[in-house]
């Protein structure tokens, strides 16, 4: 079990150095949750040729563009990414803006399709939605729980089973039959996260959802995610809040311009990321000095 070796266990380890035998590890091998091989995503971005002024010029340019198939440039958002994720792993994905974090998550959650490569999924994937995107303002809290749940891929039966837990987690018992549009923003955020957090998927994708809600609720969310991971889920976590990454995750993957720069322990990953940012900062500095 990869998850059995955690920070706290270090003291509990007896000293085997004086023993002259080895013991076969009889524990089951780590359960693979997700494996990514040679993943690529290329976007075509149009090169702007907006130097025409009159409508006739624009028309001419448009005809020409159609004729030559347009002037497009390939942009590699994700390039040749391969990694494995095991049950119980909570992996932080670190990287600067535009490094491909969101694209990678979108590929794994099937929102967009890879250009090349493959992803093997050994369980269901659930992604925590940006809060409220699955809600309809005119529907009541109760109706929205079902709407949001089914959008996330739950069946009505599963939602029935989790309903009370969701309501309790969000703390909206009194307003279940009020339309969401009359909720305070804090309440709807809590309800949305509550539905998300009761997804029964084996692979969980969390993209920057913690930046909402008040202090107490954020703490509640972190707590909830920790339980989710302890239950053997595999979690992919994206956040610019490095402290919560350190707290929640045991592994890290650093993306840089669409490729994997580093993969390993969370501490080492955070360190690598900090170095990377420093290098980037120095590069920026040099560039701006050169420009002057």
């Amino acid at each position: 079990m990869s998850s059995s070796l955690k920070k706290g266990d270090a003291q509990a380890l007896p000293d085997y150095a004086d023993q002259d035998y080895m013991i076969l590890d009889l524990s089951p091998p780590p359960q693979l949750a997700l494996s990514v091989r040679g993943l690529c995503k290329t976007y075509k971005i149009a090169q702007s040729i907006d130097d025409h002024v009159t409508a006739a010029e624009a028309l001419a340019a448009w005809v020409l563009k159609g004729f030559k198939g347009g002037r497009y440039q390939d942009f590699k958002a994700i390039h040749d990414v391969s990694f494995d994720l095991f049950a119980g792993d909570v992996m932080a994905i670190l990287g600067n803006n535009g490094s491909g974090k969101s694209t990678l998550l979108k590929l794994i959650s099937r929102i967009t399709e890879p250009t090349n490569g493959k992803i093997d999924l050994y369980g269901r994937v659930g992604s925590l939605l940006e809060v409220g995107s699955g809600f309809h303002p005119e529907l009541t809290g109760r109706e929205n729980i079902y709407l949001n749940g089914t959008i996330l891929g739950m069946s009505n039966r599963e939602i029935d089973r989790e309903f009370d837990a969701i309501v309790e987690f969000a703390g909206v018992e009194k307003f279940l039959d009020t339309p969401i549009k009359r909720y305070s923003s804090g309440m709807s955020v809590r309800l949305a996260f509550a539905v998300d957090a009761h997804l029964r998927s084996e692979i969980l994708i969390i993209d920057e959802v913690l930046s909402v809600g008040d202090q107490d609720f954020q703490k509640q969310c972190l707590e909830r995610m920790r339980t989710l991971a302890q239950d053997g889920r595999a979690v992919l976590f994206v956040s610019h809040h490095l402290e919560s990454c350190r707290e929640l995750c045991n592994k890290a993957l650093v993306l840089n311009e669409g490729s994997i720069d580093f993969m390993g322990d969370i501490e080492a990953g955070l360190e690598y990321y900090a170095d990377l940012q420093q290098v980037n900062d120095i590069g920026l500095l040099k560039r701006s000095q050169a420009a002057r």
């Binding site: 079990m1 059995s4 070796l5 266990d9 380890l13 080895m22 013991i23 076969l24 590890d25 009889l26 524990s27 089951p28 359960q31 693979l32 949750a33 494996s35 976007y43 049950a87 590929l107 959650s109 099937r110 929102i111 967009t112 399709e113 890879p114 250009t115 090349n116 490569g117 493959k118 992803i119 093997d120 999924l121 050994y122 369980g123 269901r124 994937v125 992604s127 940006e130 995107s133 699955g134 309809h136 005119e138 529907l139 109706e143 079902y146 709407l147 089914t150 959008i151 891929g153 739950m154 009505n156 339309p179 009761h198 029964r200 084996e202 339980t227 302890q230 239950d231 053997g232 889920r233």
Partner: protein, 309 residues
């Protein structure tokens, strides 16, 4: 693999912990074989029925949302389903019957005739309008979460069907009240409705996926529907249209698959003369072809939705 054993990994409690937890989050189960492999799709891929079945509750929920939201904060609520064709038929009655001096077909009051036509026509246009716009209207969802995209237009078809059933029930009540009877043609009603639904949903798959890239379609659709209304035998029978229109325009009604379907629908419901076999065959074949073409186009364009929308 030979590994240095750690005591923790031999304790049964750590092995069991993956199924324990706090009780609310519940156990998770992985499969040993990949449940699903994500790879670039090929144009030859068939419709993913497994996916559609897994998300079937979402289909019902989306349709239900559509119906509920439409009548929230309305005073008359679901009565609008009944009022719309009645008001529409009244306008037709004045324009075509009173001003245009168009008689109803033999033995059928013009009002009942036009109301039945409008029920079928409204079914057709409500699918086209709602299903075509469903992708763009839910762009938020499409770019944020995965589900079979086909469910969005399909849920519109479902909610339109609910409206259709209610209005057909009202019409039959009105007919019974005015002393009309039904005959065995009624058994064919589902055939016409299925064909209408296929034609409309096929078109809306096509229009909807075009609309994702080109919002122009949003502006063309209402105008096109308005023209379609007069190019189809809605306010008049096919016979009336063919006898009164100049023969240069006959091809419009001949090539319009709605001609056969509307005539067939009225034949089943009102007991009018059935359209000839060639018209029926033509209409149904065109509907099926449009449906399959729309589905294939949708399937092909679907993978770009999240990137373009």
């Amino acid at each position: 693999m030979l590994r240095l054993c750690t005591p923790a990994s031999l304790k049964p409690s750590t092995i069991a912990s993956s199924t324990g937890g706090d009780g609310t989050a519940g156990a998770v189960e992985y499969s040993t074989q990949p449940l699903r492999t994500i790879r670039p799709s090929s144009p030859l891929d068939l419709l993913d029925f497994r996916d559609l079945i897994q998300y079937r509750d979402l289909l019902a929920t989306l349709a239900w949302r559509d119906i509920k939201v439409r009548y929230r904060q309305t005073y008359l609520g679901a009565f609008w389903v009944l009022l719309q064709p009645i008001l529409g038929a009244s306008v037709f009655f004045i324009v075509f019957h009173n001003i245009g001096l168009l008689p109803g077909p033999q033995g059928v009051p013009y009002f009942v005739f036009s109301m039945s036509s409008l029920i079928a026509w409204n079914f057709f246009t409500s699918i086209l309008n709602k299903a075509s716009n469903s992708l763009v209207n839910n762009s938020q969802l499409i770019s944020k979460v995965y589900f079979p995209r086909l469910l969005l237009p399909l849920s519109s078809v479902l909610s339109s069907t609910v409206d259709l059933i209610i209005s057909i029930l009202v019409l039959t009540a009105i007919m019974a009240f005015s002393g009309m009877t039904f005959d065995y043609y009624l058994a064919f009603l589902p055939l016409w409705l299925m064909s209408l639904a296929m034609l409309a949903s096929g078109l809306s798959f096509l229009i909807g996926s075009l609309m994702v890239s080109y919002r122009d379609v949003q502006h063309i659709l209402p105008v096109a529907l308005q023209m379609m209304l007069y190019a189809s035998p809605v306010g008049y029978t096919l016979d009336q249209a063919l006898t009164r229109a100049p023969s240069d325009l006959h091809f419009v009604f001949r090539l319009n698959p709605l001609s056969g379907l509307l005539e067939g629908f009225r034949c089943s419901l009102l007991g009018l003369a059935a359209p000839d076999a060639a018209t029926i065959a033509f209409s149904i074949t065109v509907s099926a072809i449009v449906f399959l073409t729309g589905l294939a186009t949708f399937k092909r364009m679907e993978r770009r939705f999240a990137d373009v929308i």
